[in-house]
Symmetry: C2
Subunit: 470 residues, 2 copies
Amino acid sequence: MSQDADTSPAEAPELEESNLDEAHRLRHEFVESVLERLDAADDEGVRELVEQLHPADIADLFEQVDRERRGPLAAAVRDLLDGEVLSEMNDFVREGLVDELDNVQVADLASNLDTDDAVAIIEDMEAEDQREVLRALDPDDRAAIEEALAYPEETAGRVMQRELVSVYENMMVGDVIDFLRDSQDMTMEFWEIFVVDARHHPVGTCALSWILRTPRNFAIADVMKREQMLIPVDMDQEEVALRFQKYGLISAAVVDSDGRLVGMITVDDIVDIIAEEAGEDILRLSGAGEGDINEPVKDAYRSRVRWLVANLGTALVASFIISLFGAAIEEMVALAVLMPIVASIGGNAGTQTMAVAVRALAINELTRSNTWRTIRHELAVAIFNGATIAVLIGIGAALVFGNPMLGGVIAAAMLINIVIAGLAGVFVPVTLERMGQDPAVASSVFVTMITDSIGFLAFLGLAVASGLVG
Amino acid sequence: MSQDADTSPAEAPELEESNLDEAHRLRHEFVESVLERLDAADDEGVRELVEQLHPADIADLFEQVDRERRGPLAAAVRDLLDGEVLSEMNDFVREGLVDELDNVQVADLASNLDTDDAVAIIEDMEAEDQREVLRALDPDDRAAIEEALAYPEETAGRVMQRELVSVYENMMVGDVIDFLRDSQDMTMEFWEIFVVDARHHPVGTCALSWILRTPRNFAIADVMKREQMLIPVDMDQEEVALRFQKYGLISAAVVDSDGRLVGMITVDDIVDIIAEEAGEDILRLSGAGEGDINEPVKDAYRSRVRWLVANLGTALVASFIISLFGAAIEEMVALAVLMPIVASIGGNAGTQTMAVAVRALAINELTRSNTWRTIRHELAVAIFNGATIAVLIGIGAALVFGNPMLGGVIAAAMLINIVIAGLAGVFVPVTLERMGQDPAVASSVFVTMITDSIGFLAFLGLAVASGLVG
């Protein structure tokens, strides 16, 4: 690559950007023209368009087109379909594509990747295909991947890469630089090097910028940072992500149970996990399972229908409560007209608080030390909210139905239900968390059951107790 | 700092970790003992405990204790309260604390930080305090911070730091290393250096690991990567975060409208934004506004009551529909008992699909190119879900009420409502996005209105149309 002073600085990116819209998504028109050429069996033309793209955008392209066209598209751009493209691809789309490749091709792709990316591709394959891919790998890659697969899914052992730079603590900065220059086979990028003792235990971490700024004759032990965040190999990836976020890490050493350095996790892998985990809560809280638009219909059905059936159960509880007040409703049909309002707004108020609590639990902001403060906080908000809505609906109902007593009953029921909703919105997720459950998964069902039941019970019960009916 | 071969490698972290639980949260007992000493006015004792903590954990400590105790705690550990602690702190907690410090102290803290962290502390202050802090800063820091504050909030200009390393394209690797060794005032960490031309336009990026591996007599222009992701200074921070995530960036150059290099954004700042943005959707979708347990009650009330009032509006629509069928309900009170089931499960099904769509839109997976595929996908899931729930509730209602016709009516209404819910769950957020609105903010209100209304209308309408009542 030679330098050309006249080259416009952003030339290459601009060329690429013309296929992307302002949000850096592939333009619809670009996708369409790829598909046109694909349908015309113009493989050369397809390749011409696709080769302009960044690997992450090639991955996006596969996500954008229909399932039936992914096979032909892969055939047309086979040589562009490297491991980087596969590792950037949505899990479901990649699984489908890997199924279509033969195992030797998969092995070929995997061998050009860091262990963590290779594992991501191989871990979802059928056991038999997986064995065949592993057999086709060279022994070193194979050993590294088999070792990674031995750790449970979603742990540091799966996410880490084995490729890293470690040096001994007695080396000088100059030795380290020479060592790096001599190791021509190191192709990966790295941001920190790990300093180890004779037993291969990490004793410090050294950012490359410190090494570059330090004269050659300084000891590496005097440049390195001794406090370091060591990640146990069996730590859950969500925990790892929280550590990276909390301590602003760029990379971290992974150690086995004997404290020996076995791998490295870098922030670029963690960014995806952070985004995934933060995004998962919204899906879990809504009972949408994996919640991916690329998830096969039968998987989406299985994970979602479960929550709808659970919701059917809680709705039956609410129905049962209504059925206790059949006579009251027959006497005053306005009760049937108004009762869903009390339940629905209570449900919304509960969902608001629950979302706040689930989020605070997920990022470790809500702990034993401030649970009571949080409950007091949510209670105060609930009282203000409840009072506001109670006044509005109370006056409205009194006017519309010409019945001040009815207005008073619905106002009181509304206030009660919103306050209970606020408390349930904190208590339910906190209790689930203390019991070792994921608060995002089951909170909704319980909170909805509480707000529906209390909504109907308070409103219809007060209607009877106040002498409005019966 | 001298090297001691006998030092146990993990000694420092272990000492610190004893105050943290398995999820790296501060132990409740530790927080309690800090508070005990604080209440006993044993400031020295408080300091002794707190000084063992990492800055991120000191920030957590302030979040854990009650508001009234944060002032005294700050007084006791004043010298430990550096800019790093403040920049790690929850926004609301920091704002409260900064209010209690005098402006010269704030200026003192800010001057030790990178621009982006200093801006984060200063941007939320009252205009007058802000001016006073700026006056107390030295001219260089002041100019940098004022320039940052001139960019709109949540743009690249606010998030970037001005401290960065740029070199000219005609330099040799050896020149760059010498330049770095000579610049003793550069205290920050950096991971890549930016190569610029004579007009200060970026022409390439060079990872430090490449520089370290390359002999001194190579031209930097031959080592650098020419394709780079340039961030315009006015780009929204959420867009910036998506770029970092999509292209796996560690740092990126920020350019002004003339294409000149004006700053750098690093992934550690982006990690927080990614987590924040991904987490915000769950709060927005639930109508919980900022949704922070540290948000002042009156702010939380203001942002949440708005959505409850909007929900009151949609609930009134549903009530109006019920009121049209008053005679039918009087004739058969079982309708009033069963109708909330149809609305509630429809609402849940709609929320599932909506969560999936909002998430897919947020990460740019749902685009014009695959909207129809997504609608077909969600429709298929909805038909399976609807059929399952319809059969369950249909048989159940027929048996419980001894009325097969009632079972048929509720089954049909359930299927209709779940299918409509599935379609609305995609259409509503996609339409809002096309209109330039944030789909997470308003989708819920519309989807709930649709599922409630259709639920009551389909069930009660079919009951009348089928001749079950009337």
